[in-house]
Symmetry: C2
Subunit: 241 residues, 2 copies
DNA sequence: GGCGGCAATTTGGAGCTCCAACTTTGGGGG
DNA sequence: CCCCCAAAGTTGGAGCTCCAAATTGCCGCC
């Protein structure tokens, strides 16, 4: 790191090093703004900026009136698991295997396809669809939001035992799901999402756009939003069934 | 939005709205700090902070001496595509289908397994492995970094036509890859990564940890790093081959 | 010994200012 | 007519300050 680097980055680098090498363990307090100015001989602005950057990276959290603390190590919960013949393990199986209690709520309503959804489902704009909102919780804390869209003709309630029993439900309707396509990317959470997921500032989300296909016809599409810092998507592909 | 919200968030929300609804198209200039203070009647600090937040969200870019501009719409390049019987399409096929020229470089070297890699490959610490670094480019711009680790006994050069011909190469050695497990998460880029990927400040990366298994034995593991804002991972799962 | 409230500390919002480095633009000179 | 340079504008780093809201610890009172 060149000495001509901004001073606030010097402070960031030094604290980050202490966090990753473990000399500042999870929960440990970070020196306050006043202490940092003295310790590193920088101004308030640089000290404050350094703390903001570290918070944005998800390494520390600030608590008003108390201080900044090293965040807990991410709890890596596999949320998605694919096997060839049993499609989806139901949500919850993985979370339960990690010792957490999985619960979810859902709410279904008729809606009109937005241009984006219409394109994904190959419908006309404003075509009737069924929209279902899900909130998934692990030990009561929300860990995943999802919104699912189905053409009105296929609509039906989520299965009791698992909201992800879509393939089975469609199969009962004579619709055979042949392919599932997912697009995964990361973005900044919308205010409503930070709210329901209780995201600290600066945390990004993983966004999964999933579409179920029956042949060349899309039969369901959903948007799945997951806090990007504490969860991992797990994909397991069996090559030889 | 409550009126008690921080003023800088009012500015952020207003500009963000204009960007997402299209009244500020990609490339359009954002008012300068001085203009924002006048337009919204806020202080320099708030105006500056608003611009910083929008830049961190990836909606705008700042160019020193020139101004802030609305960023181009993300170019969504599927980088990963799975089909049941042909495993991986070679890197490049997807990128080429979008009109870009795919190139890559790689560099192989013997190394000792770090504790993390040793655990992933079920080897002893410091066991000999072959480490291969890849840089993938689309139209000359780096779009993906990867580091692959193999136990030294399996090591061999990446195939000429595609560095991803791992399954075929191992098969020739009598090792049959039966499963591929991937963990996907998002994090802040390390300085070296921002550098090689030419990432603007505030952009996160997608990190894929991929392990190839032959039965219950891991035969290769790799870390794949992709700019999170302009690329999407695409997974296609065929349910009925 | 226990409890309530006050004072010190801390974060986070907001304001102002100065300056170095870089772009852009326009005007003047060759 | 074209080129180059200087002036004006802009970002980003850095400094200082004030204040509201929240937490924490301590002191004194019951």
């Amino acid at each position: 790191m060149a000495t001509s680097d901004p001073v606030y980055l010097r402070v960031v680098a030094d604290i980050r090093r202490q966090i990753v090498d473990g000399s500042l363990p999870p929960g440990a307090p970070i020196p306050s703004r006043a202490q940092l100015t003295r310790k590193y001989g920088v101004g308030e602005t640089a000290a404050r900026h350094a703390l903001r950057v570290l918070a944005a990276e998800g390494l520390i959290v600030g608590r008003v009136g108390s201080g900044h603390y090293v965040r807990d190590r991410p709890v890596l919960l596999p949320l998605h698991r694919w096997r060839f013949h049993d499609h989806h393990a139901p949500f919850g199986a993985d979370i339960q295997s990690q010792g957490a209690r999985a619960t979810w709520e859902w709410r279904s309503e008729p809606a009109e396809a937005s241009p984006d959804i219409a394109q994904r489902l190959r419908l006309d704009d404003s075509a009737p669809v069924t929209r279902t909102h899900y909130v998934f919780r692990g030990d009561g804390r929300p860990v995943q939001l999802a919104t699912s869209y189905e053409p009105a003709e296929f609509s039906g309630p989520p299965a009791e035992e698992s909201p992800r029993g879509l393939v089975a439900r469609l199969s009962a309707l004579g619709v055979k799901v042949t392919e599932i396509v997912e697009q995964v990317y990361t973005r900044v959470p919308q205010p409503a999402e930070s709210d329901t997921l209780a995201l600290p500032a600066g945390v990004h989300v993983l966004h999964v756009e999933r579409t179920h296909w029956a042949g060349d016809r899309p039969v369901e599409t959903s948007d799945i939003v997951i806090p990007g810092d504490r969860f991992r998507l797990v994909y397991a592909h069996s090559l030889h069934p």
